[in-house]
Amino acid sequence: MRYELFVALRFLRQGGAQTVLIFGGAAFGVGVIVFLTALLDGLQNNLIDRTLGSQAHVVVRAPDLTTKRPFRLGPGEKGAAVVERPAQRLQGVDEWPKVMRTVEAIPGVTATSPVANGPGFIRRGQAEKSINVFGVVPERFDRIVPITPKLIEGHFRLEGGEVVIGQVLADDLGVGLGDKIRLTGTQGVSEVFAVAGVFDLGNRQVNQRWALVSLRAAQALLQLPGGITNLDIRVEEIFEAQALADQIERRTGLKADSWMVLNNDLLVGLKGQSSSGTMISIFVVIAVALGIASVLIVSVVQKQREIGIMRATGTTAQLIQRIFLIQGAIVGGFASVLGSLLGAGLAKLFEGLAQNPNGSPTFPVSLSPGLFVTASLVAVVVGLASAWGPARRAARLDPAQAIRSV
């Protein structure tokens, strides 16, 4: 074993209770950070997953027709008239196949789905429900909002005259596979569809109001011949969505909104959570660093004589400094391993505490390899940084003085 490492390990071993304390304290600190981060990341991923479970990352629409026209009220005064488009008319995306090709060519876009979307009613016997009609191409829509894996029964293919509805709506209407229901658009166009599938997206609003039909059928119901109301987009990196939306707006002249804008409140909340998590981690890191540093300072004072003898017998000041830095690194390294295990164990324990009816955890935690790598790096760097002062001090000890102080 190398001399520096040999001496560093021996010094730590001689530290006894002191060593146990800094190892334990540092490991506990790392454990707290790992646990807290796993918990927060898990919570945030869960919230984002839920939000994006029934939402496109980016939605492209026709620009609003709403414009403001300035006019004169009197001398020096101006007003603005708001000219709105007729409430009933749906606004289609012009030349959407071309738009779709343009968008698909943008790097970072992984899927697109044309959607004809508008309000409507469902009638079955006496029951009448207001619903949200979605005209989609199933295999494309599945890549935006995965319906197929969420089907309770039936299939998601939408051959002519088929409709797929949410499980709450099916219950409200008392319908099942193969039953016929009549869909009516706001313009009064109406048609009969057979229920081909029932889904549960885990969101009551969606389960109660969504009715998925073929694009062509929706175009007829909503009086949008050949048109779509929006192009739904999935992107590679969800947090790049807004940047991509901006890019899409520039390239197409259409309006593109990312989920980040549509769920701004959620994002502000998540950011706040992340920064309080970071603050707590920073305080823990400071406490751990101070702990390591103070124990090492005490050890330098206790080992004055040993250091003096080593200096007198061929150990350079640089080597002495390295011996104490190594001790810091060992504490950090040990803390990163034990702390990661501790934090991961705590997180798993916490995850097991509460479960959803389907057996999935209520509070899923996120233990990514990146978390352990970061925690370990932080621990070793903190170990080294907090050993820096004590190591300098040890290296500066005057050997003659140290030997005299018997």
Binding site: M1, R13, T313, T316, D398, R404
Partner: protein
């Protein structure tokens, strides 16, 4: 013509900044290869201070110090440490072994520090040296498991394992009963004979000093007598 190991000219050493104590007041001295010199003098005369200066643990305030032909003034701390580790050996009154390390480790540590090598590469040499001083069966003993005389033997093994040109011993027998003191002194004499090592030994014991080739006497920071026999 004998080979000079150590030469000092006009060495002074002061302590303190406000109240200045002059401890060494202009010393000239030369030690040649193979000399066994005793350094005597009353307590407080500056013997330990002189040894620290010669041992490169302390820098003099003025004067020149040459070791193995190398002027030491221009050397930085790392170079001084290397020269010290290579050319010098120390034996202190309170043996100054490192408490947490056993006998062979105490002997091997300076070697490993100097060579920047693995500890176990020096284990064999350390063991051989400890056998030489009669501690072949105490290799794994910690200092506090050894008697005073045995500890001082380990210190001698540590000081001589790398065959230094000069060994500085500060009252190496001062803490021992006269029987152990004789043994330790004879051990040093043996290495002096066998390895042609130069020794400068601080002692109050004129009985031991009489067995040296040279007696240097320090009073109040000045060499007042330098006798060769």
């Amino acid at each position: 013509m004998s080979e000079p190991i150590l030469e000092l000219r006009g060495i002074t050493k002061n302590f303190g900044t406000e109240v200045v104590t002059e401890v060494l007041r202009g010393l000239d001295l030369r030690l040649d290869r193979g000399e066994l010199a005793a350094l005597m003098g009353p307590s407080g005369s500056g013997k330990s201070t002189l040894l620290n200066v010669l041992g490169l643990l302390d820098r003099p305030n003025s004067g020149e110090l040459t070791i193995l032909g190398q002027d030491t003034k221009s050397l930085d701390d790392a170079a001084l440490t290397r020269l010290r580790g290579r050319a010098l050996g120390f034996i202190f009154q309170f043996h100054h072994l490192i408490p947490g390390f056993n006998a062979w480790e105490n002997v091997a540590l300076p070697q490993a520090a100097l060579a920047g090598r693995m500890m176990d590469e020096h284990q064999a040499t350390a063991r051989r040296m400890l056998e030489e001083v009669g501690l072949g069966d105490r290799l794994d003993h910690l200092p506090n498991q050894l008697s005073g005389g045995q500890q001082q033997r380990v210190a001698i093994a540590r000081a001589l394992v790398h065959h230094p040109a000069l060994v500085l011993a500060d009252e190496p027998t001062g803490n021992l009963d006269s029987h152990s003191a004789d043994e330790i002194f004879e051990l040093m004499r043996r290495f002096h004979r066998e390895l042609q090592t130069t020794f400068l030994v601080v002692t109050h014991d004129s009985r031991l000093a009489d067995r040296c080739d040279r007696i240097i006497e320090l009073v109040d920071g000045r060499i007042v007598q330098d006798r060769r026999r």
